[in-house]
């Protein structure tokens, strides 16, 4: 960050901190016994180029203030995008009005004072990119050109998008906690259509980072998008069968997502999770380790404190297949008679220990089965673990890709799928909050013809 940017950020932080302080004061003046407030402000630019021409240029500038008040064990919340002094008081009042009608709830309240983040480590999350509209257009055009020139069968495009955004979040509560997190997010993505006599197939690739210097090149993004669309041409339905399934890394991340949802406090205290009462039990195959690393420098999921001001820290969720703990905020922690794990708002860089095999090695290990490269639909039941989703991918024999497949589903139960996890690849996808290599599962039902 340049000095000028640092000064601008500091000024913005001071202004937002004042709004948080004013909101907490307004809540107290209304009679609240405790309160918390969060302000976020962001701005950004997003440019899409399609078939070489500019399609959209969007300028984003958003802000919001959210207040939660407590009257003993009763609570109410309100939010607004209006930061005027009158609006702050009105919003606090709206939250207080709601708290008049909500019931007593012994578990409601702020997170414990002693867990508030005392130091806020610098995690390299804010790296502004001075990208103007013309530069963004040039980069998007270059990316799409690489995709379109990759092959004659790339006949159409949904365009390439470049976006950059900068955000600042300030959170405070009546434990006298006040903390700020500045972040940036830069994106380059491309989606193209390949066509042959059999029809059209679309696929995409993207890169998303906190520091523009880490962005994949326009050439790499464009060429990967083209290659992914091309390899899907001629996809067909296979017959119904049972077979091993290999989830390509970007799809494997969804398996971690379902795990986090089932391990989350809100689903546990409502008895809505297949992981209920499973701490200490083997929920994954032996050898699987799943852990959280909230302080990874420059990572997309990193944060020094959670949505309640609780300091985040490294921790293990699964060791050698055995579940060690849940994903809790202070409310669900109290409901379960446990302590918050610093996960108000979710997990922060959830990772599974990568193996040493890359994707070709895993295909080889699978021998015959299905490589899944895209999933569609929402057929996951976190209460029972029942799983059934639409899939796109490749049929594999003798460790080699044979042909693309689509119009199939993969089904099973997450409990069995996790215990049947055979290998994790070295090909870790770092573009999101769930970081994993490709994942090979023992056996699922594939429905088709």
């Amino acid at each position: 960050m340049s000095q000028a940017e640092a000064i601008a950020t500091a000024a913005q932080e001071a202004r937002l901190s004042e709004i948080v302080t004013d909101a907490l004061q307004a809540a107290r003046a209304q009679g609240a016994s405790a309160a918390e407030a969060g302000v976020s402000a962001s701005q950004g630019l997003s440019v899409t180029v399609r078939l070489g021409d500019v399609e959209t240029v969007e300028h984003n500038r958003d802000k919001t203030l959210a207040i939660t008040v407590y009257f003993g064990s009763r609570t109410g919340s309100a939010s607004t995008s209006d930061f005027s002094a009158a609006a702050i008081v009105d919003t606090a009042r709206a939250a207080c009005t709601i708290a008049k009608y909500t019931a007593e709830d012994d578990c409601a309240g702020l997170a414990p004072r002693e867990l508030m983040a005392r130091e806020i480590p610098e995690l390299a999350l804010c790296r502004p990119w001075s990208l103007d509209m013309e530069q963004a257009i040039t980069l998007a055009r270059e990316c799409e050109d690489h995709a379109r020139q990759a092959d004659d069968r790339i006949t159409n495009s949904e365009g390439a998008t470049v976006s950059t955004s900068e955000g600042l979040e300030v959170y405070g509560n009546s434990h006298d906690f006040l903390g700020a997190i500045a972040t940036t997010r830069h994106y380059l993505g491309c989606s193209v259509i390949a066509q042959d006599d059999a029809g059209m197939q679309r696929d995409h690739w993207y890169s998303v980072v906190r520091d523009a210097g880490d962005l994949e090149s326009a050439q790499a993004v464009g060429q990967k998008a083209a290659a992914r669309a091309l390899r899907r041409l001629g996809a067909r339905q296979i017959t119904t069968r049972e077979a091993p399934v290999l989830y390509e890394a970007p799809m494997a991340a969804s398996l971690l997502g379902h795990f986090v949802s089932a391990a989350s406090g809100a689903n546990l205290y409502r008895k809505s999770s297949f992981l209920l009462d499973q701490i200490g039990e083997p929920v994954f195959s032996s050898g699987v380790n799943i852990y959280e690393r909230p302080h990874l420098r420059g990572a997309l999921g990193s944060t020094p404190f959670d949505n309640e001001g609780v300091a985040t820290h490294d921790r293990d969720l699964v060791v050698d297949g055995v579940l060690q703990g849940y994903v809790l905020d202070s409310y669900s922690g109290r409901k379960l008679k446990m302590q918050t794990t610093g996960n108000a708002g979710g997990v922060h860089n959830l990772m599974i220990t990568p193996g040493e095999q890359d994707l070709p090695d895993l295909l080889d290990a699978m021998g015959e089965g299905l490589l899944v490269t895209e999933l569609i639909g929402f057929g996951v039941n976190g209460l029972t673990g029942d799983y059934s989703r639409g899939a796109v991918g490749f049929w594999v024999e003798n460790g080699e890709i044979q042909y693309p497949v689509d119009e199939i589903t993969v089904a099973g139960n997450l409990k069995d799928m996790y215990r049947g996890l055979r290998a994790v690849g070295a090909d870790v996808d770092t573009r999101g909050n769930f970081r994993t290599g490709s994942i090979l599962l023992d056996r699922m039902t594939i429905a088709g013809k």
Binding site: D53, V54, E55, T56, V57, E58, H59, N60, R61, D62, G76, S77, A78, S79, T80, S81, D82, T91, A94, T97, I98, K100, Y101, T102, A103, E104, A108, I193, G199, M200, Q201, R202, R232, A235, Q237, T240, E242, R270, K271, S272, I376, G377, F378, G379, N381, L383, T384, D386, S388, G390, D406, E407, I408, T409, A411, G412, T445, A447, G448, K449
Partner: protein, 481 residues
């Protein structure tokens, strides 16, 4: 419309000191570059929600969303900026930013003659948040929970939520159209958990529309949702593993119409077809369904969740025929894609909020009733699946492959509904699936008003509907080979 327009102007624009001449100046600012079309979208919305679990209303929230979106269109290019403040300097700044998409040298100084559109009243211009006292909202949720628990001792948890939005919007267009709408929207949802011999299952039900909260008191609708959620959960307690493979599938009436939304609706949105990226591109006039199928998108059904007096570009909504007697008839258009394709907007230009760009979206999408009695349809199936309730769905526009996930389904054996089966995803090909419709029931039903459609990160409320349908060959993603 004139009264509504005056009402919205008074409440949104007057306090900010924005009158005709200020609107004219703002528009001139946008049009100073070579812009073909521009619009301003003023929005003010109040959202509230109340949440009950463990027998108590434990939380509630209130949210105000307001701002103005400024869009400038030049050829196929769109420039977009917005402000969350109703202040002239902020709006002028947004206008200057949005027009940067186009080259300088436009007609800036033009004089615009403002005129309002036709009057529509598909719903009452009320604020649902004020339609019931806060105590009564809490009591409604408490009654819902008591009703659910009363149904069966196996009910272990009841979660109920009540949500309402009171929204005013105004569209100001460079062609002089001024249009406004006041849009109420309410929704009530119930989820119950049941437990028997260590097995836990869930059931959900709900509904709503463009009305006040009294809708849930009329005909004891809220209590009916509670009973329905329990019924579904108890059915799921008995459900066995679902079959895997391609089967004859009978879809029940109402909400299973999500089939049409995914398989047909998205693929007929104008943006994908202008760009030629849809599996339906260039296929108008072709047979894409059995002769029994007529599918429409209708934004004009009174008080429905997906209905609008005007779309978010100020165009009155309409009933658009998508498929008639099996033949593909038309696309769903907003102004940008309609202009580029040389047709008229069908009133389907919608946006999530002032901070999002409009695009072609569905309203209420449903299939017209056919000739068959539903009993007759079921008894015609020797071996198949009867699916009556669904979760979400999704479609790949380009390949045409779509999914939708059943949450309540049964086996059909020798013409009889027998064993309930667990939820499974159904997958098919949009351009093909309706060609396999063998029987269309006479029992057209619209859903209860719970649908939300996502596209490019924007969510809008929608409706679906259909009569009972028999499809000869749909892939069922179960686990039993």
């Amino acid at each position: 419309m004139t009264n509504m327009l005056e009402q919205v102007r008074k409440s949104l624009l007057e306090p900010a000191g924005i009158g005709d001449s200020e609107l004219g100046k703002l528009m001139a600012e946008v049009m100073r570059n070579r812009v073909d079309y521009a619009d301003l979208y003023f929005q003010h919305a109040r959202h509230e929600s109340w949440f009950l679990e463990e027998g108590r209303v434990k939380s509630g929230s209130h949210n105000i969303e307001q701002g103005v979106g400024v869009r400038a269109v030049s050829g196929e290019k769109t420039g977009f900026a917005y402000s969350d403040e109703f202040l002239l300097p902020a709006l002028t700044d947004a206008a200057t930013t949005a027009r940067a998409i186009a080259q300088s040298g436009g007609s800036g100084g033009m004089h615009i003659q403002w005129h309002g559109g036709e009057r529509r009243d598909l719903y009452r211009p009320l604020d649902p948040l004020a339609s019931l006292a806060d105590e009564a909202k809490v009591q409604l949720l408490e009654r819902v929970e008591a009703e659910a628990r009363r149904q069966d001792p196996r009910v272990t948890e009841v979660i109920a939520s009540l949500a309402g939005v009171g929204e005013q919007i105004m569209v100001v267009r460079s062609d002089g159209v001024l249009a406004a709408d006041v849009r109420p929207l309410v929704r009530l949802n119930v989820t119950v958990l049941v437990e028997q011999d260590g097995r836990r299952e869930r059931g959900s039900a709900g509904g709503g529309g463009r009305t006040g909260y009294e809708y849930f008191l009329d005909e004891d609708r809220a209590l009916e949702y509670a009973r329905e959620a329990v019924r579904q959960a108890l059915v799921n307690l008995e459900a066995v593993d679902p079959p895997a493979g391609t089967l004859q599938v009978v879809l029940g009436p109402g909400w299973p119409g999500i089939l049409l939304h995914e398989a047909i609706g998205h693929g007929l949105e104008g943006d994908f077809n202008r760009k030629g990226t849809s599996a339906f591109s260039g296929r108008i006039g072709e047979k894409v369904a059995s002769e029994q199928c007529t599918v429409v998108d209708d934004g004009t059904v009174a008080a429905r969740r997906g209905s609008l007096n005007i779309d978010d570009e100020g165009t009155p909504t309409q009933k658009t025929v998508l498929i008639e007697d099996g033949i593909l008839k038309g696309y769903l258009q907003d102004t940008l894609n309609a202009r580029l394709m040389g047709v008229a907007s069908t009133g389907n230009g919608r946006r999530e909020s002032y901070s999002h760009l409009p695009m072609p979206r569905m309203t209420n999408t449903y299939m017209q009733a056919g000739a068959y009695d539903p009993e007759e349809i079921i008894s015609s199936v020797a071996n198949g699946l009867y699916a009556v309730n669904f979760g979400g769905g999704q479609v790949d526009i380009t390949s045409g492959k779509f999914v939708f996930s059943a949450s309540e389904a049964y086996l059909i054996e020798n013409g009889k509904i027998t064993q309930p089966v667990k939820g499974a995803t159904l997958i098919g090909s949009g351009p093909e699936v309706l060609t396999r419709v063998a029987m269309v029931g006479n029992d057209l039903k619209l859903d209860t008003g719970v649908g939300t459609c996502g596209k490019e990160g924007q969510s809008v409320p929608v409706g679906v509907g259909q009569p009972t349908l028999r499809i000869d060959g749909l892939t069922v993603g179960g686990t039993q080979v």
